[in-house]
């Protein structure tokens, strides 16, 4: 792999770590759900880097798009804050 | 020639067509599951002669294994497929007699049966994962269908543990794929000697966790009591008679055929006996009869897994036969218990032992059937359970665990106590009159007939189970019948 790509991947994996920590610590579910969408998006970029474009498209459409949608609809019912 | 793949294809077709039928008439969908399962049974029975030693190979996509997915049905799988479809047929008749439900319920039910039969028929590891997911997702849908607190709680726990478990199962499949370059069970079994031991151990433990959820192994069975208690009586029957049996099949296929008597099964030996003892003790404490039955079911599965793990000590066809007998006894006995408990309560969902007082007097048939179910689980003579329990004891002795026989008998005393307590309770005092519909009653009677027929006349079952055990035992025959003479 080109080292430039590797540096990009390194930067993205740092974002990944931050996003997972946000999911863990955030009391606001809206933030957590959006952070999980970011995780999915970064994962789909990783898939692209790993030469799996089919999976990248699917993950971007399903993981980052649709799952976020249904999670948000469920959050509307289940309450936005953890303490509810 | 009727290809057994139609069992899966036609079930799917029928499940997909239910919404279209529902648009025509509200009454049509409920007829679909019985018809579909009846067709499946006929297809299976028509293939009975073709399955002799080795496995019957059915390719998909017109390409030979291991390139494409194939179904592989040997006598062992055939027996389980027959069991699943028979119990499924009886339950589908039961749903026919129930009041009008959402048509989507029938789809879930049909797909649940489909998932279980797919697991016992497939010859491909990843395909078994897909069917496992179909089975799991449909079963937590079915558990939650009651939409009351208990069932939702059980369904959520089941979902959480099941999701992690099946993901680990997938990881196990991938590890095997990476080291053999194949996903076909027979092909992997052929290449197994080339795999280093450390990879075998890791993959084996991952599979154990994945399947352990289905077969209610000790640390992974936290979902089971709640799910059994929360679900409808018929769904509890389904959980104990179909879903855990598919899990047992998968465990046998993976640990015997693929891993060739996995040495880490010793873990299962201890976990199985722990499951057995803890669950039976927990059953002793219960005031809620349905929860008691659930714990008893977990205990029986623990005994089954214990016998199953004896294989690692001593590979003996008799032990394989015992596993099959125990599975059959558990399927019919527990199914009957859950159904007759439902009849005793008359659909009120009041399962506490005090509220059941006298219900056996007002509904004699259900009371008697409950007693029969309890007797077969306890292993009384003239019931099927007698033979399976005797075989279990002989198997334990053969594997050299003589001191454990005493333990099993001791735990059986607990069983006698807590079942006896319920039976005495339902036949004493005066209760409200409960009615049982004709169809409901006849389904329970059929379950009971199976138990008594097998108990009084055990020879055919024994020989059938023995043949299935031989098919499971001779793994080289299985491999060559799938992969050709390699």
């Amino acid at each position: 792999m080109h080292s430039l790509i590797l540096f990009m991947v390194l930067g993205l994996s740092l974002v990944l770590v931050v996003a997972t920590l946000v999911i863990w610590l955030s009391k606001d579910l809206l933030v957590a759900i959006l952070a999980s969408a970011i995780v999915s998006l970064i994962a789909s970029i990783f898939f692209l880097v790993l030469q799996a474009p089919d999976v990248a498209i699917t993950e971007a459409a399903i993981g980052a798009g649709l799952t976020t949608g249904i999670l948000l609809y469920a959050m509307k019912i289940a309450g936005r804050y953890e303490d509810d | 020639m009727v290809s057994p793949i139609l069992v899966i294809a036609l079930s799917l077709f029928f499940a997909f067509v239910i919404p279209l039928l529902g648009m025509l008439s509200k009454k049509l969908p409920r007829w679909v599951p019985p018809i579909s399962i009846l067709v499946n049974l006929l297809i299976l029975l028509s293939n009975m002669d073709k399955i002799s030693g080795g496995a019957m190979l059915i390719t998909t996509a017109g390409i030979k294994p291991p390139i494409a997915i194939n179904l592989a049905i040997d006598r062992f799988g055939f027996l389980f497929a027959l069991l699943i479809q028979t119990v499924g047929f009886l339950l589908s008749i039961y749903y026919l007699a129930q009041d009008t439900k959402d048509e989507r319920f029938y789809m879930l039910f049909l797909l649940n049966i489909l998932g279980a039969s797919g697991i016992v028929m497939t010859g491909d590891l990843f395909n078994s994962f897909v069917f496992l997911e179909i089975l799991e997702i449909s079963s937590f849908g079915l558990v939650a269908v009651q939409k009351d607190k208990k069932s939702l709680e059980g369904a959520f726990k089941y979902m959480m543990i099941g999701a992690i478990g099946s993901s680990l199962y997938l990881l196990g499949i991938i590890v095997l794929y990476l080291s053999t370059g194949s996903l076909n069970m027979a092909d992997i079994a052929r290449l197994m000697p080339n795999i280093p031991d450390s990879i075998k151990l890791f993959a084996g433990l991952l599979f154990l966790i994945g399947i352990g959820v289905e077969v209610e192994l000790f640390p992974l069975n936290a979902w089971a009591p709640d799910a059994y208690e929360g679900a409808q009586d018929s769904i509890s029957t389904q959980l104990s008679s179909i879903i855990s049996k598919a899990g047992i099949y998968l465990a046998a296929r993976i640990f015997f055929t693929i891993f060739n008597g996995f040495y880490a099964l010793e873990v299962v030996l201890y976990l199985g006996i722990i499951t057995f003892i803890i669950a039976e003790l927990a059953a002793l404490m219960q005031k809620n009869v349905k929860r008691m039955l659930a714990y008893s079911s977990i205990g029986q599965m623990g005994l089954l897994l214990f016998v199953f793990a004896l294989i690692s000590k001593r590979a003996d066809i008799f032990i394989f036969t015992t596993i099959i007998l125990l599975a059959l006894n558990h399927a019919f006995g527990k199914g009957l218990l859950f159904l007759s408990l439902g009849a005793l309560t008359g659909g009120t969902r009041e399962y506490y032992i005090d509220s059941l007082k006298g219900s056996g007097k007002s509904n004699v048939l259900a009371g008697l059937l409950f007693t029969m179910g309890a007797f077969t689980i306890l292993g009384m003579p003239f019931f099927f359970g007698f033979w399976s329990k005797i075989s279990a004891l002989i198997s334990i002795m053969k594997a050299g665990y003589v001191y454990l026989i005493g333990l099993v008998l001791l735990v059986s005393l607990f069983e006698i106590y807590y079942y006896g307590r319920v039976i005495v309770n339902i036949f004493s005092g005066e209760g409200k009159a409960q009615k049982t519909g004709f169809i409901y009653a006849s389904i329970m009677v059929i379950f009971a007939l199976f138990i008594i027929a097998f108990g009084v006349w055990p020879h055919p079952v024994f020989s059938f189970a023995h043949k299935a055990a031989v098919a499971l035992f001779e793994r080289t025959t299985y491999i060559t019948s799938i992969m050709g003479g390699m």
């Binding site: 474009p53 089919d54 498209i57 699917t58 459409a61 399903i62 798009g65 649709l66 949608g69 249904i70 609809y73 019912i77 | 290809s3 793949i5 139609l6 294809a9 799917l12 077709f13 499940a15 997909f16 067509v17 919404p19 279209l20 648009m23 059915i58 390719t59 998909t60 996509a61 017109g62 390409i63 291991p66 390139i67 494409a68 997915i69 989507r104 789809m107 797909l111 489909l114 797919g118 990843f126 395909n127 897909v130 069917f131 997911e133 179909i134 997702i137 449909s138 849908g141 939650a144 269908v145 990476l178 080291s179 053999t180 370059g181 996903l183 092909d187 280093p196 450390s198 990879i199 890791f202």
Partner: protein, 227 residues
């Protein structure tokens, strides 16, 4: 607090074992293609006529899995519908979408649908295929759900599309059983690789999957929206 510590130890121990295991046994990027993968790469195009190998694996070599996968989605859609049926609906204040959103989505919607159809029709040539295509179509509907107040696709039509596509999929498989004695066999002519009309039944299956996944996902979103 104790639960947190136990969970922490458990999870990180699991991670440590997993990482050390995979790092010693499967070094990154050094595993040569072997077994079935080598066969797919070498013979895949001649056998099935699709230049996208992943597509031919998904729809043909492992097509039975894909049928199961479609079933899982179907199951999720029906189960969700069953669980959420009969929800006590209460009138809620819905925020008014702005004029800009309303107008743009109205014109964007057909384009999204077109894009989805493009993905599933070219599934055997380019990355993508039926599943992402169906989801793209569903996200088009999702956009409309958010932005348009009165937008409501017919439930009758959605459910009919769903089960019609499902039955068609099984029938395609049975056609293989009837003509080539094997379920889901590639019975249609292969054609010239790298053109739209090639690869036998792959485009047909992907079109069916596209419709099915699209209608199922839209159904899921609609159920979630209505409660």
């Amino acid at each position: 607090m104790i639960r947190k510590i136990v969970a922490f130890i458990f999870a990180f121990y699991f991670g440590f074992i997993l990482y050390s295991f995979i790092y010693t046994h499967f070094p990154f990027g050094e595993r040569p293609l072997k077994g079935v993968a080598a066969h797919y790469v070498e013979k895949g195009v001649q056998e099935e006529g699709a230049t996208n190998i992943v597509t031919s694996i998904v729809t043909l070599y492992r097509g039975f899995d894909t049928l199961g996968e479609v079933t899982v989605l179907f199951l999720a859609a029906t189960g969700l519908g069953l669980l959420l049926a009969g929800w006590k609906e209460e009138e809620k204040e819905k925020p008014e979408p702005t004029l800009i959103m309303e107008t743009t989505t109205k014109y964007l919607f057909p384009l999204v649908l077109l894009f989805g159809s493009y993905i599933f029709i070219h599934g055997h040539l380019t990355p993508g295929g039926g599943f992402p295509a169906g989801v793209v179509i569903a996200t088009g509907y999702f956009m409309m759900f958010i932005a348009q107040k009165e937008f409501k696709p017919s439930e009758y039509l959605l459910s009919a599309t769903e089960s019609f596509a499902g039955t068609l999929y099984v029938i395609t498989g049975l056609l293989g059983l009837a003509l080539a004695f094997s379920f889901l066999a590639n019975v249609a002519p292969l054609g010239v690789p790298n053109t739209v009309f090639s690869a036998g039944i792959i485009p047909i299956i992907y079109i069916i999957i596209g419709f099915k996944v699209g209608s199922e996902m839209t159904g899921i979103l609609q159920h979630m929206k209505e409660v």
